[in-house]
Subunit: 503 residues, 2 copies
Amino acid sequence: MSTAEKWDQLQTRIAEVDDIQKAAGLLSWDQQTYMPAGGAGARGEQLATLERIAHERFTDPAIGELLDDLADDAAALPAESFRASVWRITRRRYDRAKKLPPDLVAEMARTSARAFESWVKARAASDFSIFEADLTHQVELARRQAEYFGYEDTPYDALLAGYEPNLTSADVDRLFSPLRDRLVPLLDSLRPVLHRVDDSTLRGDLPHDTQIALTGDILGLIGFDFRTGRQDISAHPFTTGIGLGDTRITTAVDPDNLAPALFASIHEGGHGTHDQGIPAELDRTALGVVESLVIAESQSRLWENLVGRSRNFADHLLPRLREYFPAKFDDITADHLYAAGSSVAPDYIRVQADEVTYCLHIFLRYEIERELIEGRLAVADLPERWWQGMHSLLGVEPAEDARGVLQDVHWSYGAIGYFPTYALGTLLSVQLYEAALADDPSIQPALQSADFAPLLAWMRQHVHRHGSAWSAAELVALELDTELSAEPFLDYLEDKYRALYGL
Amino acid sequence: MSTAEKWDQLQTRIAEVDDIQKAAGLLSWDQQTYMPAGGAGARGEQLATLERIAHERFTDPAIGELLDDLADDAAALPAESFRASVWRITRRRYDRAKKLPPDLVAEMARTSARAFESWVKARAASDFSIFEADLTHQVELARRQAEYFGYEDTPYDALLAGYEPNLTSADVDRLFSPLRDRLVPLLDSLRPVLHRVDDSTLRGDLPHDTQIALTGDILGLIGFDFRTGRQDISAHPFTTGIGLGDTRITTAVDPDNLAPALFASIHEGGHGTHDQGIPAELDRTALGVVESLVIAESQSRLWENLVGRSRNFADHLLPRLREYFPAKFDDITADHLYAAGSSVAPDYIRVQADEVTYCLHIFLRYEIERELIEGRLAVADLPERWWQGMHSLLGVEPAEDARGVLQDVHWSYGAIGYFPTYALGTLLSVQLYEAALADDPSIQPALQSADFAPLLAWMRQHVHRHGSAWSAAELVALELDTELSAEPFLDYLEDKYRALYGL
């Protein structure tokens, strides 16, 4: 085989694995949107089969041989070239995937299907004991994975790298430490004046279908393309790319409160525009998916918070609210709307947390995950540890576990090491937003006239076009010529919330 | 490996292939219901990949070895036992699948994806020339397949057997000949009096969503279980089983005419109750899918025609129409409704054909398919041949090809030999219906009081419970102690339509 044929062969094999993974993505999407309840068992089997086959095909020794044979050719190319990136990314993924024995992969799939079911039941009953055995098994599997992957400082690092390439807990600690040092005092300063902002503006009798119509309109406004995308309903909002030209976001609606559907839709819309922005020529290649969850979250948090929760956006939102909910918003001003969307309230649920308290929810999960993986905390002691952490970080009192340790789905499918990327993506969102405004002076005035295209174009050019070629740290170095940092986020947060709360 | 372990091994491999095929089934369902237009290309690739992997896995020589090793064990069991049936069905499918070289399978998948797209365009433009080259390729591929499969009398037989096990054109001719001999005179006798039945009763301004709500209600009434099923919207109605506990039917709505959505929903509901009736213990085994398309069609046609178009059903339909469409049906009687649902009108479109003319549409397709496969007709001459056949069989004049040779999707995905099963299933539906009424005297009075459970229970017991263990011919021998025959259908048809048209 010639070198050109070897590159083609590698591409063919990657494309096949991508097809299987996208098919699995559709099965998951359907499971959460349209699947009748009776189909759950069969769907678990189908997903496990597709995941196993994708893993088998991707770890075929032929891929390793192709990578070996193409190493010199790739090394001779500029690092940012398509082939050099394909080689680098595939090498990293292949080496990582090869470290897990197929039996362990199969056990992970089976355990995840079972643990997801017990988690659903446990949360519905708010009874941690229903989930305890399966979670114990997941923690044990995660520790076994970490041993296979290998690590320097802590087994937790081996897991983290599965969600953000090369990320270590030392990186996380370096960023979380200043974050904590300024977030906690900020929240303390706000506590006495939380009553100054009223969030009732977004509450009331707000029919489900009207909320969907409104959020669909707003998704179109910020640049989500419905010719190559859809919006559906699910219990928990998410975004998934099913392949070129097919990006799906979901929305959950609370008919008494517009805030969850509104901000979660804009959040998922950020993920959606990211997926839609990956160049067509990267489709079905090693670079065609979003791999860095920090970069992924930077896009969703940017649109949710820096755009969607801005004072400026309230000006564009208000006329639409008046159109979709006649008479309900007649006495509301854009100032009210802005304040209601940004009200701070230390509370139980991460996905509904405001900008100030959000990262505190992440800190708790990060601490607990490390304690579990490093063997310093037993699963049986989790609920108690949870409430102790919630009290010390957010000052809330213990409540039912459904609003505590059982609230998030992640651990049920074995995703340990995922949560920190939410906070790091939030930090990155501010760095990218500020860089975009500084780089293109047309963005700010365009935002004021509800034209989001220049901001989206900047993200296309500086973030989306790379596909999965770079980690968040690499992207920040390449595009922003700096490092991932908490300071811009903290400066933004202090400025915004001190002003909003009149401090 | 012990014999027991070999049976387990065979089961594991079959289950895996079934998972992949069910995943492909969901991808197809989604393609026709929710997929954004932009996703078509990627979906074609994903489907081709899954089909190729399913074929690879199913033709793995290890399955052949297991079948060889288990042959004596299977032969020692009663033919109707689970393992004997699994062995028999798997042997037949494996031997058939092995006959096709993988390259040909891949070429079929690619050609089907392309030909489907050109068919969609050709039909939209009513321009056969857009589809001609791809259809020529499909016919050529079908002929190559037939050579690989092998046949005794005509290559067409090799294709027929892909839709109904062991069916030959001699069988089809034996049944179609008396059918034609009595159908044509029946239609001729009706022609002068077609004006006696008015179908306008089911026409009018009938909103889309109300039609869906009504048909959903009727699906529930006849026994389709929405806990393990769904109803969605698609351009062409179909039913697909996505696995145990997940059966999906689709409905197409004409907002000016209730008949298409009403009867097609009941038709698909028949397929749906069949899929839902396959015993859970057959799931993910060789017996867990509906393989005989004649048996499949017997269930859909039974509910559509013998139940849905019965005089008795009109009594149950009328109050529901009045509930869903207030005031619209106040002056209509159940007699009007019955007559409108059974009006005869020789026309262009097969899927909207009445009970009398339906099989004539099938005859034409059967003749043309044989001529194409036996090399007696060139694809280029198809439109002319079509209109000549439509004129001689149905007496309609040539019109645009969109309402002619381009109306059906089947040939675009290479399904040649499929159409005859529609007519044979129609014949079987009457045999099964009459056997059920004769066997269980509680069925008829139950139908009169809108209780469809006894009829469904009979089908569960005599048809559904077998899964794919038997061909239609075998099922008729086993359960009805007779042969597939056209006479019961013809007797039913002549009695019903002579009375309805006052002859």
